[in-house]
Structures are given as C-alpha cells and as structure tokens.
C-alpha cells in the first residue's frame, strides 16, 4: 500500500501525523486548565453557583481531552528513538535534558494533581483543591515552556559545539534555553492555546444560548469567551508579527517560502502575495496576485530596501514552498476571522445584545474549531519551513533517520493512522456529545464518570468546612 515511498518520507509522515494529533490536545488543555483555575477561583471568591457548575462541566471535558493528550504524548517521547535515532544520538545531549525537565517539572505536576482536581474537592477541602487546580494549570504552562524551548533550539540553535563523534555538546545552557526564537514562539503558542480554548468555550456557550437565551451558564461562558476573543486576538496578531520578524532575522529562507518569494528584489518594492500557486520545479509563483511594496512594509523595511528570494538559495536547501505558503495563509486568514468575531461580539456587547444576537452565536459556533486549524497550520508552517533540516543549518532531516527499513515504518504508520482515527475519533465524538449537553445537566455521560472515591473517612470528617462539590 505504501510501496515506493522511502523510509525517510514515511518516517516524516509518521512523525507529522502523530505530532499533529498530539498538539490538538495540549493546545486545548493548556487553555482549559487555566480557564478551570479561573472558574474555580471565581467560585471561591464570589460563591456564585454558576462558576461551580461551569467548573464541573468543563472539568469532565478536560479529563477526556487530557487523557487523550497523555497517551498521544507517551508515543512522542519514544518516537524520537524509534524513527529518528541518529537525531536522538546527535541532538540528545542538548534537547534531551530539556525534555527531561519537562517531564520532571510539568508532566508529574499535572498528573499528580489531576486526580485531586478532578475528584478530590470533598476529600481535601476547597483550599487544597484550588491549589491542585492551579498546579495543573501551572504544569501545562511549564510543559509548553520546555517543549517550545526544545523546538525553538531546533529552529534557531545556539550555545553548543559539535564533538568529533557528531554529537551536539551543550556549552551554555542559558543560550540553549533562551535561544533566539524561544520567547517569541512561547508567547505565540500560549496565546494560541488560550484563543483556541476561548473559541471552543464560546461555541459551546453560543450553542446553548441559541437553545435557551436565559441559560445562566451559557451566558456566563459565552461572555467570558468573547472577552478573550476581543482581547487576545489583537495581542496574538501582534505576537505573530513579531515572531515573523524574528524568523526573518534568523531563518530568512523560511520567510521566503512563507511569502512565496522565489525572486529577489534588488530595488525593493517587494510584493506581498495574497494568492499564488508555488511551483518549486520552475522556481516561480504561478497565478500570483500581489501588492507591490507591501512586502517591504510587512518586513518593516523602507520601500526601496532590497530583499532576497529563493533564487539565492540552492535547491537542496529549500523547504517545500507550497505547503509553507498555504499553511501560513490559512493561519493568518483564520486569525483575522477571529479578530472579526471579537469585534462583532464587542459591538453586540456595547449594544447590549450579546445574548440575543443569533447570527453572532451561529458565527461563534462556526468559529469553534478554527483555533485548532490555525494551530495546526501554524505548526505546519514553522516545521515544514525548517526543512530540509532537523537542527536548522546543522543536521539534515535525511541524516537524522533511524536505520529502520521502509516496510517496518510503513506498517507502523498504517497502524498509527488506524488506531488514532478510531481512538481519537471516538474521543472527539464523546467530547462533542458532552458539549452538546447543557452545563447544568447533572450527568454528561451515562454516568458521571469514574467514581474515584475511596476511603473509610467521610469527607466532612477530614474537613469541617466541607462544601458539597456537585
């Protein structure tokens, strides 16, 4: 079925497939963990039952999404070795310890406090439960920090030397962790996770508002989500632009691919292409529609500043332009649609029709999944744009591969595709079904979920200030 493909391309497809599935869950759980911490904090502060109901509603959804993130993440931690063993051997001394820090400072924190956050309110009392909830949220952010440092180092490597055996040897950990693109990437991704979650929460709120505009929980979550949309989207667009300038400085070839700039413009007036079909074979952008000069302005250069194109780069050092060019446009396009939704909601709020504007609610539902699409498109842009290297400029993808024969990689790829679509397809279906129920519904599943309670001491005896959770 996959005859004729090289082991390299199969391994790349396999990694792209498993990591793409995986990133969907953290993108959601980073945002949702923080949202849960906010909801729980507001419940404790205001004693408004709406917050507690929302907390209990989203926590069950979080549990399912988090479980999917855990299992798809375990796969990632082994796939570096099974499929990219030469990369692991060479780059392991640098990226390995960063990932070890991720496991030690983030994964254990999340997993250790998750049980208490999900099932422990009655057992440990409100204060410790709030602490556990905050630790889970903090853990997701720590995880993002370390893994983005790893990824950024692969994009903009710094602080190392290369030993005789080919290994990257860490020389300056500060320079490695805070490599040139790290902070830009971290901010961009965390904002993306928050925005993605806000769009999902907004869509669920809108769905229930369309059914019953007096639904208290739906009103509350929709309002919170739309505040996020109007505040975070402009910040994200600004952060994305800054990230782009950083890429222009450190990975100019990636920018050439993102912008479809095959040709150099020695006299400036570089166009910004809105549309085009990249043609790598002929090294030109077919059917190009561009605005002259806007390219220079986007790069924050004077109009007559010369720009270089892919014609200055050897073919074997170029990324595949079509994917990078279009995935970038998908991400940016969706970003502006999100901004549109934010502005529309702010207008409706100012007019006092936030909970009555049916078309706004319908638009919010349509925009619900777009955060995930934008996250994936953004990652495709940056990862495919890094090609043909794994460690940018130093280690080629074709030299990173494990000595595993193509049939073995093909077989495992097929297995991953079947299993992931079945398992995560089912999970997505369950998530959607839970979201389809009103927040005030006592049971989201047939049953509320695992009981996860044990013990001979009833909760009130542990904590005299015990407050029934659900």
């Amino acid at each position: 079925m996959l005859d004729g493909f090289s082991a390299e391309i199969l391994a790349r497809v396999q990694f792209a497939f498993t990591v793409s599935f995986h990133i969907i869950f953290p993108a959601f759980s980073i945002g949702l963990a923080s949202y849960l911490a906010v909801l729980n904090g507001l419940w404790i502060k205001t004693r408004d039952e709406t917050y507690l109901t929302l907390f209990n509603y989203w926590k069950k959804i979080f549990a399912v999404a988090f479980g999917m993130g855990v299992v798809s993440g375990i796969v990632m931690s082994y796939q570096f070795g099974t499929n990219w063993s030469v990369f692991s051997d060479r780059a392991g001394p640098v990226v390995g310890p960063l990932m070890a820090y991720e496991v030690l400072s983030a994964f254990f924190l999340e997993a250790g406090f998750l049980g208490i956050m999900l099932f422990g309110r009655e057992r440990v009392g409100e204060r410790l439960h709030m602490f556990a909830t905050a630790m889970v949220a903090f853990g997701t952010l720590m995880s993002a920090t370390w893994i983005l440092s790893v990824n950024s180092w692969m994009q903009t490597p710094a602080g190392f030397s290369i030993a005789e055996n080919g290994q990257f040897v860490p020389e300056d950990w500060w320079a490695i962790i805070f490599n040139p693109s790290f902070l830009h990437r971290l901010v961009h991704m965390v904002l993306a996770a928050y925005l993605t979650t806000a769009l999902v929460v907004g869509a669920v709120g809108a769905l229930h508002l369309l059914r019953d505009r007096t639904d208290r929980e739906a009103r509350r979550m929709f309002s919170m989500a739309m505040w996020m949309a109007i505040i975070v989207t402009p910040l994200q667009i600004f952060a994305g632009h800054e990230h782009g300038l950083n890429t222009l400085e450190h990975q100019p070839v990636k920018i050439m691919a993102m912008e479809g700039h095959y040709e150099s413009h020695p006299d400036g007036w570089t166009p910004l292409y809105l549309f085009g079909i990249p043609n790598d074979a002929e090294q030109r952008l077919d059917y190009a529609v561009g605005i002259p000069g806007l390219g220079n302005l986007i790069f924050e250069h004077p109009l007559d500043h010369p720009t270089e194109g892919l014609d200055t780069i050897a073919d074997e050092d170029q990324p595949p332009v079509f994917i990078v060019f279009w995935s970038f446009r998908v991400m940016v396009g969706l970003g502006f649609l999100m901004l549109g939704l934010g502005v529309w909601s702010a207008w409706a709020r100012w007019r006092g029709t936030l909970f009555d504007a049916k078309w706004l609610h319908r638009a919010s539902i349509a925009m619900g999944p777009t955060g995930f699409v934008a996250v994936l498109a953004g990652w495709i842009t940056t990862e495919v744009g890094r090609q043909p290297f794994t460690v940018y400029g130093f280690l080629r993808t074709s030299d990173s591969l494990a000595p595993v024969a193509a049939p073995a990689v093909a077989a495992s790829l097929v297995a991953f595709i079947i299993v992931y679509f079945a398992v995560f397809g089912a999970g997505t279906y369950y998530l959607l079904r839970m979201m389809n129920k009103r927040p005030a519904t006592p049971n989201l599943g047939l049953r509320d979920g695992p009981i996860r309670t044990a013990g001979i001491t009833p909760a009130p005896q542990i904590d005299p200030d015990f407050i029934p959770g659900e």
Partner: protein, 333 residues
C-alpha cells in the same frame, strides 16, 4: 566502580524504570484481570481503584524514555530501533487502555472499551516483558546504530519474559485489589493471588535459571566466586518475600501480599541490574559509552535532584488522599 555523573544517572534511570514497573504494574494488572470481574459493578470498582493515579504512574514511563534520551542518547538511539515493533505495539496498546478510563463512562457500548482496556493492558505488559528479554539477550551494534535484523527481538526467551511480566502484573493487580476492596471481590482476588503468585515465582525461577546462559558475562557473575557469594543474597531475599507473601495471604492480611509482590519485582530488578552492570545495552555498550557529555548530565542532574524528591512527596500525597477501601455504593447515579 566509578562513582561519577554517568553512574549516578544510570542509577536514576534504573530507579525511574523500577518505579514505573512498581506503579504501573498494578494498574496494568487491573486491566489484565478485567475480564474476570464478575459483574459490571466489580469492573467499575476495579477500574476506579486506579483511576486517580494511573496517569501519574505512566509518567514514569515517559521519564524512563525521556531520561534515557537526555542522558544516554546513544543507548536510546540503539535500543529503540532494535525494539521497534514491541515498542510501537506497546505504545498503541497504552493508547487503547489509557483512553478507556474516560471513554467507557461516555458510551452505552461499554463492552468495547472494557475489551480495549483488557487488550491494551495485556499487550503493553507483554511487549514490556519482550523488550526486557530482548535486552537481556543482547543487542547487536554497528558503529553508533543498531546493527541487527527486525525480528531479532522475537525469541523463545523473550516470549517467556513477556509472559512472565503479564502474569506478574496480574499478580500485582490482584494483590492491589485485595488491599483496596472488601467482601466477595476481595475473596476472589485472594484466590487468584495464590495461583498468580505461584506461577510468577515459577517463571521468575525459570528466567533466572536461563539468564546466565544468555551471555558468558552473566554466567560468570552468578556462578563464579567471589561475586556469586554476594549475588546469592538475591535468591535469599526472594525466599523471604515468598514466605511473607503466602503467610500474608493465608492470614488474611490486606497490604502484606501487595507489598511482598512488589518485592518480587524489586528483587528481580536488582538481579537484572547485577547481570547487566556495567553494561547499559548488553553485550557491549557500557554506561560510560552511552553517556551524554558531562555538561548534559550535570544540568539534568540539578533538576532531578531538586524535583524527584518533590515529585515523590506529592505522588505519595495523591495516594494518601485516595487511600483506604473502595466504597462501591459511592459515586453512582
């Protein structure tokens, strides 16, 4: 014996793997015993007894893999391709069983995810045992990469170790349930534990007898003076634990069988460590060959020394919060 960064890290990785085996062993064991749950309530109870802790347990597997990547990247780069198939199968199996914890509550088709929980647990345990057996038998190295074939891992010996791990995890699951439950299900598990214990000990014995013949180094270590005198401590400990296990079971103790069964694993693990040392990947890659540069080892060690004790504290706290017997009447609607 050189007490340096590489040696300390070998000890820490061994600790992470052992902690994984000890912790996830019993929750995989619950999956292995799942079809023997007599009613839906019993199966709910079995799964609920590990639900708050399973993902913390599996995080130790990520630390084992991620830690190896960090501090022994060459060993990671050689072992993973060598065990490509069992590792990939184990990961897929863990996907199935991991999601079952949440999924089975979200559907009318509970049987499907019950089967996934059982199948995933069995296959994951089997693959872990196979990986262990293949490692004991040795991995062929060519330069800085795996040099063997794609089915080198598949031998009668590795299948035996695979089977032994499935049975052993089943034993851990049964004794965990003795500790966490009461009445019929506890009586049922006491019965299972008796037999699972006997078969586990028999398999440990068989593997122990066969191991010295898997490599001349092993043989020398176990049967030549003076090392054989010291290593005899291992079978002695095993005998003591066997006594503790069966007296605990017969006297109706709740926790003693579980702790003794964990002891079987700890002592077996020490035995494997004695066989392997100073190899990281038998028969030729030592701990020092495989170690990352000192700058990597030192940096990672700072984090490990600070964070591992903290992790142990809050992990223990999470177990303490969910301590005691399960109450089957709690939590339903």
């Amino acid at each position: 014996m050189v007490f340096d960064l590489a040696f300390i890290w070998a000890g820490l990785i061994a600790f992470a793997v052992l902690t994984y085996v000890v912790l996830d062993g019993f929750d995989l064991g619950i999956g292995i015993l799942f079809p023997f749950g007599k009613s839906e309530q019993d199966r709910d109870l079995m799964m609920n007894s590990v639900a708050p802790v399973w993902d913390g347990n599996e995080t130790w597997l990520v630390l084992g893999g991620g830690g190896l990547f960090a501090v022994f990247p060459l060993a990671y780069a050689i072992v993973m391709p060598a065990l490509y198939m069992p590792i990939t199968l184990m990961l897929l199996a863990l996907v199935f069983r991991g999601v079952s914890f949440e999924y089975r509550w979200r559907t009318k088709n509970k049987g499907l995810w019950d089967a996934a929980f059982f199948g995933g647990s069995v296959v994951a345990a089997l693959c872990q045992g196979i990986a262990l057996g293949a490692l004991v038998q040795g991995i062929e190295i060519d330069g800085r990469a795996y040099g063997g074939g794609w089915f080198d891992w598949l031998t009668p010996f590795s299948l035996l170790t695979g089977f032994a791990v499935v049975v052993g995890y089943g034993l851990l699951g049964a004794t965990w349930l003795i500790y966490k439950t009461e009445h019929e299900i506890q009586i049922q598990m006491r019965g299972y534990a008796w037999w699972l214990g006997a078969v586990t000990l028999g398999l440990i014995g068989l593997v122990s007898i066969l191991t010295p013949f898997q490599g001349p180094e092993y043989f020398q270590r176990w049967f030549n003076l003076p090392t054989s005198v010291f290593v005899m401590v291992v079978p002695m400990l095993m005998l003591a634990l066997t006594w503790a296990f069966y007296t605990g079971l017969n006297d109706g103790k709740d926790l003693q069988p579980f702790l003794s069964a964990l002891g079987f694993f700890v002592v077996s693990f020490i035995g494997i460590g004695i066989s392997f040392y100073p190899m990281m990947v038998p028969p030729s890659l030592t701990i020092w060959d495989a170690a990352a540069p000192d700058s990597s080892l030192a940096f990672a060690l700072v984090g490990a020394v600070i964070l591992i004790p903290i992790i142990l504290v809050y992990t223990a706290y999470a177990y303490w919060v969910f301590r005691g017997k399960m109450d089957p009447s709690e939590g339903y609607h």
